[in-house]
Every structure is written in C-alpha cells, then in structure tokens.
Symmetry: C3
Subunit: 266 residues, 3 copies
Amino acid sequence: MKTTISSNVLYAAIADVRAKSPLVHNITNYVVMNNSANALLAVGASPVMAHWVSEMEEMTSIAGALVLNIGTLDDAWIEGMLAAGKSAMRRGTPIILDPVGAGATSQRTEAAMKIIEECHPTIIRGNASEIMALVDAGVRSKGVDSSASSDDAVESARRLACETGAVVVISGETDYITNGKDVYTVVGGSPLMTSVTGMGCTSTALVGAFAAVQPDPMVAATAAMAVMSLAGERAAEYSRGNGSMQVNFLDELYNLRSLDFARGDM
Amino acid sequence: MKTTISSNVLYAAIADVRAKSPLVHNITNYVVMNNSANALLAVGASPVMAHWVSEMEEMTSIAGALVLNIGTLDDAWIEGMLAAGKSAMRRGTPIILDPVGAGATSQRTEAAMKIIEECHPTIIRGNASEIMALVDAGVRSKGVDSSASSDDAVESARRLACETGAVVVISGETDYITNGKDVYTVVGGSPLMTSVTGMGCTSTALVGAFAAVQPDPMVAATAAMAVMSLAGERAAEYSRGNGSMQVNFLDELYNLRSLDFARGDM
Amino acid sequence: MKTTISSNVLYAAIADVRAKSPLVHNITNYVVMNNSANALLAVGASPVMAHWVSEMEEMTSIAGALVLNIGTLDDAWIEGMLAAGKSAMRRGTPIILDPVGAGATSQRTEAAMKIIEECHPTIIRGNASEIMALVDAGVRSKGVDSSASSDDAVESARRLACETGAVVVISGETDYITNGKDVYTVVGGSPLMTSVTGMGCTSTALVGAFAAVQPDPMVAATAAMAVMSLAGERAAEYSRGNGSMQVNFLDELYNLRSLDFARGDM
C-alpha cells in the first residue's frame, strides 16, 4: 500500500480512533450491517445501527459521526436518513454518504442527491460509476458493482467536490480522495476484495470512524482507505476465496493495532 | 456428487455464468443477504439486493434474473416482490421463488401462492415440507426447517410443476428437479450443510445466476444444485463446525473456477 | 468457565436442547440475524426469524420460545414484537427480552419498558448499562456497548427482577443471573468476545433455546451464559482477531456436543 499521507499521520489517526473509540451511527444496508459493525469494532470504534425516525435526534446527539448508505433503500429508510442527516448537520457532526447503486436506478441517484442537498455530507464515498452518476445523470451503472475504472472518474469526483463542498472518495484499484483542489491517492488492496460483498460499504463505515476523531476530512478519508487497502493486501495473501477473505480481512484490521506504522514497514 | 446432467453441460453452465457475470436481483430475507451475495460473487455473478417498490421497474430492467425469497416477510416486502415479479414477467426475465416457511404459517403459504399466481415463476425451490405445503394446504411444517424427506415430496413437486408451469426443485439429501414430466437428481452434499443457516436460500440465489444465462430451466436448476452439493462436500471435509463450514463453503464455490469438470473428477 | 450450576445440570440442559431441537422464534435486529440463527443451529435448536404482524399468532403457536431484541427498532417492528409477545404470553411460551441500547435513547428505554409491561418476559438479558437504564431512567449509555461493569449493575438487576417477575441476566466479565432473591454467576469468556458484534444478542438467542426446554428460567439462563462463556474461551485460544473469533465461536458451540461435561473437564 502506498498513500499520499505520511505513515506518521496515518498511524496517529489510527491511534486516535483507538484512544477515543468514537460512536459511529450507521444507517446502512442489510447486506453489510454485520461486517460493517465488526470492521468498526476491529479498528477500535463503537458501532451503532439505528434507523427509527423517532430516535434519530437522540442517537445523533451521542454519535461522533453519521454514516448514510443507500444500499437497500425504501421510503421509511430515506425518512430516517434525512432526519438523522439534518440533525447531524445542525450539530456539526461529520456525515459520510455512500451512494450505493447511484446510476443503477434513477430513484437511487435522486435519493443520494436529496441527501446531499438537504444534509450536506462531509465526505461522499462511492465507486467510479456511482460518483460519475452523481455528476452526470446520463451515466448508468450495472447494479452495485462499478462498470468504470476509478481513474476515469477523477474529474467527476473533483466536480462533485466543488459543487457540494464535500470531500469525495472514489475507491478502486487506486483510490482517489479529493476536495476539488488536491487529490490524494491510495494504491494497494487486492482484486479478491471485489469478490467480497460490501467491501466498499465497509470502507465508508471506516471513513466514519476516522472522521469522528480527525478534523481534516481529507486525512480522515485517506487514512480509512489506506487501512482498508493494507488489511486487504495482507488478508489476500493467505485467503483461499471470498469466504476466508471476509474473515481474514477483519482479523488484519484488528491486528493493525500492533503494527508499527511509524517504522515505515508499509 | 452425482447428477443427471453431464459434467460437460455442468461445466459449460458454470463457465457461462463466469463469462457473462449476470446481474441477479434478489428480494430475499435479512438472515441470508450477506451469504447469498457472497455466494453469487463466488460463482462470478453480480448480486444486487433491492426491495423498494419505486425502483422495482428500473431494477428488473437491468437484471438477468429475479430471486424472490419470503423468509422474513411483511406487507411492504410482499408489495415489492409483486411489483418486481410482474415487471420481470412482462420482460421475460426468469423468476425464481423460494417459499421459505410455506406450511409454517398460512400467511406464508398464501404469500407464496399469490406470487405464483401473479408472477408465474420460472423455477420454485424449497425443501420437502415447503413444496408439499404449496400442493396440499393441510401440510404443516415446523418453522423453516423441513420435517419431511425430499424423497417423499417428489410427487408433490411433479404436481406443483404441472399446475404452475414452473420447474420445481426440492432440496434434501437427494435434490429433485422436475418439470412435471422429467425428474433430474443431484446426490451429494453434506449433513453439515443443514447446520448452516440459509443454505437453501443460497441455493435459490445460485439457481438465479444459472437461470440468467441458461435458457433451459431444468439445466439451470440442476447445475445450481450440483454446484451447491459439490462445494458443500468439499467444504465439509475440513470444516470443524457450522462456523467454518459457512466460510469454507464460499471458498469452495469460489474455487470451482479452477476445477476441470470435464475431466470427470467429480 | 466457572458457574453456579453443576456440570451435570448444565450438560443435561444442553442434551435436552439437542434432543428436543426446540423452534426458537426470533424478532431480532438485522446485524445479528445470521449469527444468532447459526448459534441456535450450533446448539441443536431450530431458529425462525419472523416479524410480520399477520403471522405472529400462528408463528408463536408453533414456537418453544420467543426472543425479542430491540437492536434495530422501528414502529412496525415494535408492533410485531408486541403482537408476538402477547400471543406468546397467552400461551405460556417463555419470552426473552434483549433491551439493546436501552439508555442510549429514551425511545429504546420506553420500547423495552412497554414490552415488559405488556408481555411480561420470562427472562431479560442485557449488559450492565442497559439493565441499569431499565431501573433508573436517568442512566444513559453510549450506543449499544456497556459503559458500566456488570458488578455495578447487580443491585439494579435484582430490583428489575423483583419489579417485573422476570429472571434478569447481566452479561459481562462475570455474568449475573437473578430472580431477585438468588444470584447465580458465570465467570469466564474472553475479552475478544466484546470485539465481535452481537455476542450479547447471540447469548439472548441461546437463552431462548434453553428456556424452551428447561422449566426453571434461572437454570435456562445460566446454562446459556455458561455455554457462551465456554465456547468463547475455547475459540479465543486460537483466534487471531474478531473475524476468526466469530467463526471459531460457532465451531466451538457446535462441538460442545461432543464434550463430556459430566467428567468435570470444564
């Protein structure tokens, strides 16, 4: 794994998550809830999954970050996301949006745009197709997997960042993180990660953990993507397929705690 | 594993899924979503989970198959299933129904019958109790696990196939696949599979992947059951319990890609 | 693992679950459904997950225990829980309540209290913060993880048991099980269990399995917590992180079947 931020900054960000154990409030899709919660626990954060409109105000009041993921959407969940998002916005709590499947259906693209307009997310993370669809409604994607490379989407990400004020992350072989001006990168990971469902969603959840303790969203997002990439590489070395990869990835995330990033062993 | 279809046909079906990577649209239960998605990725398909009525028309328009699974049902989900099912039927997209828990409550039996009547599924896959309950409303099953053997249910499957025009699959120690006239079989698997939740649901999802690329539903369903059986056998050899079995099963599915089925090493 | 009940009684309880394979009806949260179902299968019970109001009456009529877990609540699910709870109460079916996140938001505390008042659960299992919040509305907890030790909560548990007539379980480094008069304990487990999401929820599901076959709720709850603790200890010995821990824990639960508890090898 190679990334724009220094290993010192990266390690400090990780140590910060562990020291503060931020509560990360997730309104996310059914497919990935278990893995996202375990990934958050593995890096030392405290996950809570809650979508009930009635408790959104109170739940956001105790959370360090809010993660909104539209992977398995319906009207009731959009209502919960908007309630939580507006409450978090008023409090200045970082909001991270994962526009899963934007471009696959117009309803998903519109739901993502509505959240962007009404809740002003701090960070938006998607794959290339999703980010492109948010900038150009003409882009269609096939389901929830990307049909474009992250390299092709950098200009879209930059535009989306400028238009929304959010830091935009495109994940792919190379991850790009941009505030519209600067572009940070993370190179690494493993192709096997694309065969494990919800790896993108998990990275969005981790962005939440870092954003909860790290004031600079460029650093928070880059640190999360770097951690994903590093754990993915290591897990892939001894995984036989996507079953063991899902398990080993969590173990590697969990054991980053004992790594000496500062020694430059990345 | 022993099956009615030849290893050449079986391997061609698998290669076809990998080559075409069909988008399989699942409206399935909460318990199995993660595993079903990973199983679909393992065989090379592209899963999407979506149940929101508003996006059903667009989502079915890009999917190669629709999987409807009533495992954790409620009114809103039935509405989503019927919307998706009717849209898929109009487009000629194969629909696969898993009547989870039919016979356990009359509401489930009725929901499954309603989907059959209004959406005309191409393939129906259930355990013995579920298939029997769809033919004879007097049959009660205990929860979602079968209380009958698949051998006992073959006549019910044949009748259900004749009445509905669907290919009917009963999974069990021997899997039976019938269009009402012919009966194909798959013998194999492992008893440990019954201790892993959602293995039946996973097989239904895989039937979706094969049906998306394979015009003959008898072959599609048989290939899916054969793949389940083979991966299950291999995984059971080195699994210590149902935890490792769930993981190893995915790894074996994933590694079927390197097997030379044609050499008859099954 | 050390516990108040004798290894004979514990082993008999486990053997009973295996012999009778009770159907345990769960209305639980999305995060843990897969693991709870697999844990129930591992100990020999038969899980069903169902929340649809329309089928609650019929589903509770065939279940040996009802597990209500408020981890990812909303209005529709509360309606399902109350319908199932009242039906189970009328039938004398044991009800086990897991008040996940009570104290994190007032809505969760109130929902838990409403279930207690209207359905009279047989057993309530929570972490220290949750149990304390049910007794003293002033106690706030951070999300779904406990911010108090189980030792501090014993008096709250005793009071809650007296007020509600339920056996109350606090899980933690030491688990306390009380009917308001007697206090049983289980000491053991592993710190790694707190890094796996939903371990508490899994223990509640197992309490359901034991309560379905065991008339004394003190013994049922203690046996379930002892089994959790023992499987957790053993799994932690060879787990590298929370990923493998989740898998190995299920394997250990599954293999308790071959252990000779009676020989005192605990």
